[in-house]
Amino acid sequence: MVEKAAKPAGERQGAQIEQYLSAFRSFERGLNGESASPIHAVRKEAIAHFASTGFPTTHDEEWRFTDVQPIARAPYAAGTPGTVSAADIARWTFAGLDANRLVFVDGEFSERFSTVRSVPSGGAIMSLARALTSGDAAALRHTARHARYDQDAFTALNTGFLRDGAFVHIPDGVSWDEPIYVLYLATGRTVPFVAHPRNLFVAGRNSRCFVVERYAALAENSYFTNAVTEVVLAEGAVVEHDKVQEESLNAFHVGSAHVSMAAKSNYTSNSFAMGGAIVRNNITSVMEGQGVECTLNGLSLSTGRQHIDNHTTIDHATAHCNSHELYKSILDGSSRGVFNGKIFVRKDAQKTDAKQTNKTLLLSDLATIDTKPQLEIFADDVKCTHGATVGYLDAEAVFYLRSRGIGIELARDILTYAFASDVTGRVKIEPVRAALDRLILKQLHEGRRLEGL
């Protein structure tokens, strides 16, 4: 172990890194004239950074509980995306959600299945690749400016292969209440592949929007999604950002969101993680002006041998900002969960009000969670609270339900559902909330009976 740690990453992971470097070389060849653009200089820097660090190991404090070796050593091949039908897309569209939608199939933008009917004047809802090639000012200004690729190998990889994803720009003063739906659908391609989705959501001054990001799969095949989403809120902007992750149970998913919040902006993230074999979600939100409201809600459901890791960082860099965080996990089978919630309160961030809650429900004796709140407070006039609980279903509550004639399975399901609905209930977009309810019910034994109630 010690011996291993002493070697530089490049030596340890030679073959693993080379796989990506060779993919990068062919990626470069396919870029043609675009390789002269400023974005490409960033790509090269990012990939060089990745080459020097390699993948993190469990010796890295940030990755202590999540071993990404299975992700790193898996072979991936390039190829063309599989096919999907209109019916597939319909199945993965939230019932009743009337939305502009950007669809990606096996990581590639699908012009055919994307429908953008209306765009705010002066703004954009389109593929990021198109925005960059057409010289969209907001896209050029913000792409790769917020997600730090020098601090995380997966962000470095994503930035190296940065090409496409969803781009949303809501101009100043526009309240765009029709949700924007971004769907990443994996088709069940037999050869494992990597996708590096890159999303950018820019909300102008005093604008408002709702974005739903969803990762889903038509089959239980193996592949690796390495997504990065940058969210930029100008002064007074309001954004609700929902993420629904239902990848294949044999897929790997690493998703990082970087949120920059200017003064008086209000950001809410509702993150739901249900799929994937090994999953890591990072959310880093930075308060860059005063009077910011930041809300991070999360719910993980795992079973079998799934591993779901949620890392959140809220950086109170300025005074008079509030943050509210609620992360819950429901673990069944021999699944593993990780929660790490960092809250930094910088020296000047007086009058900070930060509240973090982390609750875990264990449905099986074999499931485990590693949970770590991490508060680092350098200001003195602040209010920061955190609490973490881990437990099984309340035996008294189960008995109470049974004493009214409710069978034990249904009793357990009702209580589990109630635990989850505390988070799903916070999603403001009704069709998404309803779909999440159905998804959770589907995972419960007696879900169908619950639905009938």
Binding site: A397, R404, G405, G407, A418
Partner: protein, 252 residues
């Protein structure tokens, strides 16, 4: 209807029930009184099937069946209802949802069709009327943030909806003011028929003015040490329990 013979039960290795004998016939009301900690709630919970209590000896027959063999849900479906001394709060589950799940589970077991939303609501409204319950309690999570009195009333409301054969009321009167007590007692009386029975656990005579018992039992240190007519409750109110404890010691 209910026949308990020599029932012994322990929790965490401590014997709490030390040989209870009790027979309740259809149409009867029995009161169980006794000092704090004598095992009244333990008896009630054991009858409802709480697994935390281990039955170490004795038997309980209910309508000819071995009650102790049955799961808690099957006991409820067979018509046993326990109004808890401390009703449990269940955040995130609305009262309506909970009641509907309960009622339909019971109906299904009894071979009845599940009630649809309209019939269910009509029935629930009628029962709420009997107990003069605030309708907003329906949409609130089960017992969460309810006052002591509201919780007790909610127990009897559930009882009214589930229509049990044997109702066991564990200190349903404590925490109720005199008006609420009358309403709850009226509710219980409305549900009484020749076919069902009620066991009332209480400390106070005042509830027994409304729900008049056929027999009063005194539970001391895990067994019934005295049974008598309703006048026994008055005597207990006056004299307390110490004289019974002394009688016990003399016997021993």
């Amino acid at each position: 209807m209910l026949e308990i013979k020599n029932l012994h039960a322990s929790v965490n290795g401590n014997e709490i029930l030390t040989g209870v004998h009790l027979k309740v016939n259809a149409g009867e009301v029995h009161a169980i009184m006794g000092p704090n900690g004598s095992g009244k709630s333990t008896l009630a919970q054991v009858l409802a099937g709480r697994e935390a209590y281990e039955v170490t000896a004795g038997e309980v027959r209910y309508n000819g069946k071995d009650l102790l063999e049955m799961s808690p849900e099957d006991r409820a479906r067979e018509g046993i209802f326990l109004a808890f001394q401390y009703p449990v709060e269940i955040p995130g589950v609305s009262n309506t949802y909970f009641l509907k799940a309960a009622l339909n589970s019971v109906r299904k077991y009894r071979g009845l069709a599940e009630l649809d939303a309209v019939d269910f609501l009509a029935m629930v409204k009628q029962k709420m009327g009997i107990l003069e319950m605030d309708k907003t309690l329906l949409s609130r999570p089960v017992n969460e943030g309810f006052s002591g009195g509201e919780k007790k009333r909610n127990e009897i409301f559930q009882m009214a909806v589930l229509d049990p054969k044997l109702a066991i009321l564990d200190e349903t009167d404590s925490g109720l003011d005199i008006d609420a007590l009358r309403i709850v007692a009226d509710g219980v009386n409305k549900l009484r028929t020749k076919e069902n029975a009620v066991v009332v656990v209480t400390h106070y005579q005042r509830l027994l003015n409304y729900i008049v018992p056929d027999v009063v039992h005194v539970l001391v240190e895990g067994r019934i040490v005295k049974s008598g007519p309703k006048e026994l409750a008055l005597e207990l109110e006056e004299r307390g329990y110490d004289w019974l404890k002394e009688e016990e010691q003399v016997k021993a």
